[in-house]
Symmetry: C2
Subunit: 189 residues, 2 copies
């Protein structure tokens, strides 16, 4: 079940470093790309950061709309994550990357951007405009305005992955190589 995540705890969807899918939309066009370079940035107001290259179609849509979403894919979406990262939305003659790679979507709650079905976490973000960072470092800072998680693996602010490895988050290395997140453990001070 998809449940809301308290905004001050939404950083925990990213804290362990998963690769995400960045979704965007503007004026009837929409797109999705993969981004390993992301991190939490603040608790309250909840802020996150993601690197979006100048040449990407995502960049164009995010600049035009001022919003984006970070979707945390599960291992079941690893191939789709690699696929959407290997072609630009501009190069698709008909439809878009969602239709091309058979990614189902559902609407975000606070922003006009599609969210990807089958992910295990979602962060809806409004861009905090920082022209110097965007231009110099391709760095986009977003305020999280809504967040969601698949309660089978994340609830009450914590991940609790199960024996179903297809629901684990994925952590990209390079060249089609991923690492799945592994065992949970607790340390006492």
């Amino acid at each position: 079940m998809r449940l809301p995540v308290d905004l001050p705890k939404s950083y925990r969807l990213l804290n362990h470093g998963p690769t995400v899918l960045v979704t965007s939309a503007h004026a009837g066009r929409r797109n999705v790309m993969a981004a390993a370079w992301n991190t939490g940035l603040d608790f309250n107001p909840a802020r996150v950061l993601v690197v979006i290259d100048k040449n990407t179609y995502t960049r164009e849509l995010v600049k035009a709309s001022g919003v984006f979403a970070l979707n945390v894919p599960s291992r079941a979406l690893a191939k789709a994550t690699l696929d959407v990262g290997s072609i630009s939305g501009r190069e698709i003659p008909e439809g878009d990357k969602f239709s091309r790679f058979r990614l189902d979507t559902f609407p975000a709650s606070m922003i006009d951007v599609p969210l990807v079905e089958g992910c295990v976490g979602w962060l809806e973000c409004r861009v905090i405009p920082e022209p110097h960072n965007e231009k110099t470092y391709d760095l986009f800072i977003g305020e999280v305005v809504a967040a969601w998680a698949d309660s089978r693996v994340f609830s009450d602010g914590h991940w609790h992955f199960t024996d179903d490895d297809s629901l684990r988050t994925i952590h990209y290395v390079a060249g089609g190589n991923f690492l799945a997140i592994g065992e949970s453990f607790e340390v006492k001070p």
Copy 2:
């Protein structure tokens, strides 16, 4: 064995989202803190980004010296990672956090900062001054000037974790809860 990592591939030490130890030093003082909020930022020149809170002793030392190192701890150092994140270096009456938590160090090659023994990756960084980011977001951008990895688990630009779980990277969630990195898998486009 500790081997150098090609700078344009050094982002791969962080790409899968491990929690890191930030080490710093200035004028005979030195410190270490934990930071889950970090990411690669560019390949060449190799750049990385880490969030360093205003109130930290690390912040004071990094601002004064203009350098820091990101050390990627293995699971064997999970308790130490939690420990160094739970007290400020300013609150230690004698010695420092390294001595307090029995962390051995060795000198970095290009900057005057201690590196932590037992980690599996190390990035030596020079701060690219960005006063607005530092002040507004506690965001520090560094150019990687040297990088190293433990060849038992990282070589030729790739992680290859083994059955020895103590060498896996650790990914902090909250409240003493970590996730260890898990299984490697490859996806074909």
